[in-house]
């Protein structure tokens, strides 16, 4: 009994003032993921990595848009999205106060425009993703002509690339080239 009283006195007040005063969390606390649409290229890497299906992408070909979304109600704050993002567009903050009065407020979206294929004019990939890849490839191109060719290639949709390949193989006359080499 004496030990107990001593312990109680030693402890003093154990409670904190939260929520009337802020409570401090660890520096690397994994809280609410914050999305920066300016950095995002809508590549969908995060939606593939998300174990809880909190992140999603929906492509609307008729409107020419791709909608990125996060559902904070499903999020498990694992931070896999942050790890796989190539452009630092999503980061976990230390914010843990996520309560909302309306469930719909737990969903956040960002709308991205789709780029149209330079050949057929149909939308096929997010504009920003195409630009990002084109820039990367151009930067490593040996010549100016090569850079232009790469830019064209990236801006072409997969269906057109396949069609172009057929034409190219036909005109290149593979058989004759092989004969010359021999």
């Amino acid at each position: 009994m004496f030990k107990l009283l001593k312990e109680v006195l030693r402890t003093g007040e154990a409670t904190v003032k939260y929520p009337f005063a802020p409570v401090e969390v660890a520096k690397d606390f994994r809280g609410k993921p914050e999305h920066v649409p300016e950095n995002c290229i809508a590549c969908a890497a995060c939606t593939v990595a998300c174990p809880a299906n909190a992140l999603g992408m929906q492509t609307d070909l008729s409107a020419g848009t791709r909608i990125w979304s996060i559902d904070y109600g499903r999020c498990v704050f694992c931070g896999r999205c942050e790890e796989v993002c190539p452009t630092d567009a999503i980061r976990l903050s230390t914010d843990f106060e996520l309560a909302v009065a309306d469930k719909a407020d737990l969903r956040r979206t960002a709308v991205f425009r789709l780029a149209s294929c330079v050949c057929c004019g149909k939308p096929f990939a997010p504009e920003k993703e195409v630009a990002y890849v084109a820039e990367l490839l151009e930067a490593t191109a040996p010549t100016k002509a090569d850079a232009e060719r790469r830019r064209q290639l990236v801006a072409t949709c997969p269906a057109c690339k396949r069609a172009n390949d057929v034409v190219q193989i036909d005109t290149a006359d593979v058989a004759r080239t092989m004969e010359t080499v021999r």
Binding site: K3, L4, E7, V8, T11, A14, V25, A26, D28, F29, R30, A49, P51, A52, V76, F77, C78, G79, R80, E83, L92
Partner: protein, 575 residues
Amino acid sequence: MHAPLTKPDTTRIGSATIAELRRKLPHAVLDESWQTPTQATITVKLDDLPNVVSTLYHEHDGWLSVMAGNDERSINGNFALYYALSMEGAEKSFIVVRAEVPAATEEFPSVTPLVPAAVWHEREVRDMFGLRPVGLPDERRLVLPDDWPEHLHPLRKDAMDYRLRPEPTGDDETYRFVNDAESETTVVPLGPLHITSDEPGHFRLFVDGEDIIDADYRMFYVHRGMEKVAETRMGYNEVTFLADRVCGICGYAHSVAYTTSIENALGVQVPERAQAIRAILLETERMHSHLLNLGLACHFVGFDTGFMQFFRVREKAMTLAELLTGSRKTYALNLIGGVRRDILGEQKAETLRIVSELREEVTRLVEMLLATPNLEGRVKGVGLLDPQIAREYSPVGPCVRGSGHKRDTRVDHPFAGYGRTTFPVHTGEGCDVLSRTLVRVGEFFDSLSIIEQILADAPGGPVLTEDFTYRPHKFALGFTEAPRGEDVHWSMTGDNQKLFRWRCRASTYANWPVLRWMLRGNTVSDAPLIVASIDPCYSCTDRVTVVDVKKAVSKTVPYKEMERYCRERTNSPLK
């Protein structure tokens, strides 16, 4: 005469046991494969299955860890059963006994009559795969609800989509609760729901006056279908985060068990530093879990000041988890091949500071608890788990150690970073609630010392390897010692970047079957205390039905009332 078919292999631990088994039961073993140097799978003839499991169990110090059913019709045309035994005799290893069940008969000879520990597993495989254990004494459903369609077995590959929820067809409970009492008893139902628990259960106590004559219970009211979801919707790495959520208290142990199972199956060499970090986090988890249970022990004996003190100090363990992982619970730090965060110098210093604070504070609290006069009176000699019953049913953790059995996965089968530490295995001879509580106290202080040992000599280097590829249909066991005992996962990889089968056996699953014997012979007011002493993933249930066998009346008592009675022991609700 039959000479041993294989020479004992010194690099493979367990090979002598298998050679011995082949000698005793010639022709029984059809095939032998090794997943790791301490893990073998032997395929046996279906008719010899009970004999093989029983021989390993009774003659070679085997304990049944898990049994997994598997629908292998798409691989070899049959169903398969995997009885995983933890061999704790001369050779400490895992031996998995595999038997194929023909799809045409869907029957297998039950192992339960020879090894009672298999009872829950065989009832489950009957529910989930529709394989009939011939000779199983207990033919009740285990997992599926009473009104579940008769021939729908969820884990068969062709059974159902994971999103399907058959409509409930009735509210009637048709489950028969078993009562072995010879004289008349009164029924006390406890349960089925408790708001704060993650796994509700329903208890029926059969009482004579105040004495519990027998007890029965059923769980799985909120079966989450995690195995099915993992097999059909998630990738290998995503399942680690699902495994984190198997338990709200010891989830990281499941996450490590799952990743280890895949790493064992594929032969992934996990970096030493990653293994060390896993061990540190597992011990962090054990600390907060044991402090929680010690707090609850205070609460149930009516010592609420102690409860508050333990929970106050537990907060430090939670802070430590937050510091090291970024989250107080569900650490989410594992990937197949390692961990996602290193422990940096600053964190190491802070960890050591918290560890020394915890040691000092908990020492004082434990002294205070043991000096409380009514503690011993309430917990000593209460909820006895007979060592013989324990041997038959393979319980795990402080529950089995409290009955004198020296089994701890960290020591028997060192995994993660435990190979680089030394610590004792605490056992108790009292077999009662007090023994189990004291085992937890001892283990708490071990955790502190393990963290210090590992931090002092953890090797440097990478914390994650991605140097492996997934190959289809590889399988192995993964295991950890969670705060409540051994967690065992059996995983098989698939050919579509998803698991073919994931069997996850939580520690409490192994402890429930012995609870019946622990409750017998005690008074109703001790029931919540005894249930809490196995530290189940929930420590209480909502209501209790008391059936007085002599008066043949049944009475439902609210759980709050039972708990009050347990603490105060006055004004019996049964009168």
